[in-house]
């Protein structure tokens, strides 16, 4: 990019400004499709759950209800935002912004194919873990600032839940790192050219999937917003755009974690077989296709399973997933060590 600009000008400040503007456009070209993807994810969710329950789902607004998410978004934008009088206004306003902002941040390092990424960090996985561990704040802070009992309880529950499952997610990721020998997301995908990690590490993939359901507060583990007991959990006091930002943040995290599991276990953009027909399809379409499969799994689980109890949830995380993933770590490293199967 720099050499291209150097053809026209030699002024360093101008080049710097130009690069900043290009980066601005490039980041918008990541964020805007992401928001559209979230909008249509909600439509897919309603359609799939509708057809599982023998309903039609939204089909009035636009053909097949295709304009429904846009109508929903506009409605939320034009609703009145009410600020509770007992809340701490500053933190109350900051919390949804923080949630949405962190959810967007994590996408900066996602490689869509071998050349298409925003920033190629050496330690991409750690960056993802850091951002996901920051996600707790938006929830705790919103629960505290709302000064409502339901919001407070929902925030606490959600924080404890996300924290517990992050341990097992971290241990599972270390298994993948042992096999790939790098923390760079791009190199992790390229390390899977011979075999996708879902095949040797299938139990870990299952655990990762279940943990990611818990991490994103999705359905069998959606205790923070259990309608029957907590009304809507931590976002009960939020209306209009505050609520919409939480909603967007949550769905961004869902897409993010399915993209991450695509990269870690399903070999990212790589086609399943290295033959002409598969190579002909662009790589980024493979990436999207695999991500969508996991997203549909998320929705399917929501339609199929009843909600967990909170004690069961905590015990599943600490008593089953943690020892199991620790034991699997020893197994993986032992096998790699004894058969000298390290990548570098």
């Amino acid at each position: 990019m720099e050499s291209f600009i150097l053809l026209f000008t030699n002024d360093k400040l101008l080049i710097f400004n130009f690069i900043i503007i290009l980066l601005f456009i490039k980041s918008l070209s990541y964020i805007i499709p992401l928001i559209i993807a979230i909008a249509y994810l909600t439509l897919i969710e309603r359609k799939i759950i509708g057809s599982i329950q023998k309903r039609k789902g939204p089909n009035i607004v636009g053909i097949f209800g295709l304009l429904q998410p846009i109508a929903d978004g506009l409605k939320l934008l034009l609703k009145e935002t009410s600020l509770p009088n007992s809340a701490n206004i500053f933190i109350f306003i900051i919390a949804p912004i923080l949630t949405f902002f962190l959810a967007l941040c994590a996408w900066a390092i996602m490689p869509f194919n071998e050349i298409n990424f925003y920033s190629n960090l050496n330690i991409g996985i750690l960056y993802l873990l850091a951002i996901s561990s920051l996600g707790v704040y938006g929830i705790i802070i919103s629960g505290w600032a709302s000064n409502s009992k339901y919001a407070f309880l929902g925030g606490l529950r959600s924080a404890a839940q996300i924290i517990s499952y992050e341990v097992s997610i971290g241990l599972i990721i270390i298994n993948v790192l042992l096999c790939s020998g790098t923390l760079n997301l791009k190199e992790i995908v390229l390390a899977q050219q011979n075999i996708w990690y879902i095949f040797p590490l299938f139990p870990l993939f299952l655990m990762f999937f279940i943990s990611s359901l818990a991490e994103t507060n999705r359905s069998p583990f959606d205790l923070p917003e259990a309608e029957a007991e907590l009304v809507a959990g931590y976002n009960v006091e939020y209306s209009a755009m505050g609520f919409a930002l939480f909603f967007l943040g949550e769905y961004t995290n869902i897409i993010l974690i399915s993209a991450v599991s695509t990269i870690l276990f399903l070999a990212g953009w790589l086609p399943p077989f290295d033959i002409f027909l598969f190579n002909w399809i662009p790589n980024s379409i493979w990436f999207g296709f695999k991500t969508i499969i996991i997203l549909v799994l998320f929705i399917w689980v929501r339609a199929a399973f009843p909600r967990y109890r909170y004690d069961q949830l905590i015990q599943l995380g600490w008593k089953i997933f943690l020892p199991l993933s620790l034991a699997w770590l020893m197994l993986t490293s032992g096998i790699l060590l004894s058969y000298d199967g390290f990548p570098n």
């Binding site: 330690i123 873990l129 850091a130």
Partner: protein, 201 residues
């Protein structure tokens, strides 16, 4: 140039938010600004080139320790602490501790770190390493689990003590809780549970 601007940005913001941490009245606000301080320190570490340490700092301090602080503040239910009453008491001890820390930093700066630099930087950084360009992580890993394995295992003991201490301090069992035991549920079979009686007419 950009580095210098970013350095002043991060360090200035961290100083400002650090002073807000101790001056603001609501403890939750001070935790929030403490998180901001951590963020800026992460930025400073990144500028130094310590990418692994900086992100680890983010995960451990912001992701775990600050959550603990927030929980503590919320548990204690502190509303507005009376700062003025004990100001001089804290000021005395605070300045004492600050003087000790400054003295230590002064000693370290004076002794120009010959031992550590000879061990870490000069002996390890040879041209082969420049050629293969090890990452932060590889350098750390190659040293931590071999040369410093004693200290590493010792840190395991420190974590063990932390787990034990946390459990002893916070654990209490409420008495009238009915717990579910899946084992009992699974072992239970039809014949043991339901018995039929014949009543005489």
């Amino acid at each position: 140039m950009i580095k210098l601007v970013l350095f002043y940005f991060f360090s200035g913001l961290s100083l400002v938010s650090a002073s807000i941490v101790i001056s603001v009245k609501n403890p939750v606000f001070s935790v929030v600004f403490l998180i901001l301080v951590f963020f800026n320190v992460v930025g400073l570490l990144l500028l130094l080139g310590a990418e692994f340490l900086s992100l680890l700092f983010l995960i451990v301090y912001v992701g775990a320790i600050a959550v603990l602080f927030l929980f503590v503040v919320m548990i204690l239910n502190l509303k507005f602490i009376e700062l003025r009453s004990s100001f001089f008491y804290y000021a005395f001890f605070g300045s004492l501790i600050m003087a000790i820390f400054l003295f230590e930093i002064f000693i370290i700066l004076n002794s120009d770190l010959t031992f550590a630099s000879s061990y870490f930087l000069e002996r390890k950084r040879i041209w082969v390493q420049e050629l293969y360009s090890y990452t932060n992580l590889q350098i750390l890993g190659n040293v931590l689990y071999t040369s410093y394995s004693y200290l590493f295992i010792l840190s395991g003991f420190v974590l063990l003590v932390a787990i034990l201490g946390a459990i002893i301090l916070t654990l209490y069992q409420r008495s009238q809780i009915r717990r579910q035991d899946p084992n009992v549920q699974v072992v239970r079979n039809f014949d043991d549970t339901i018995r039929f009686f014949k009543f005489l007419k």
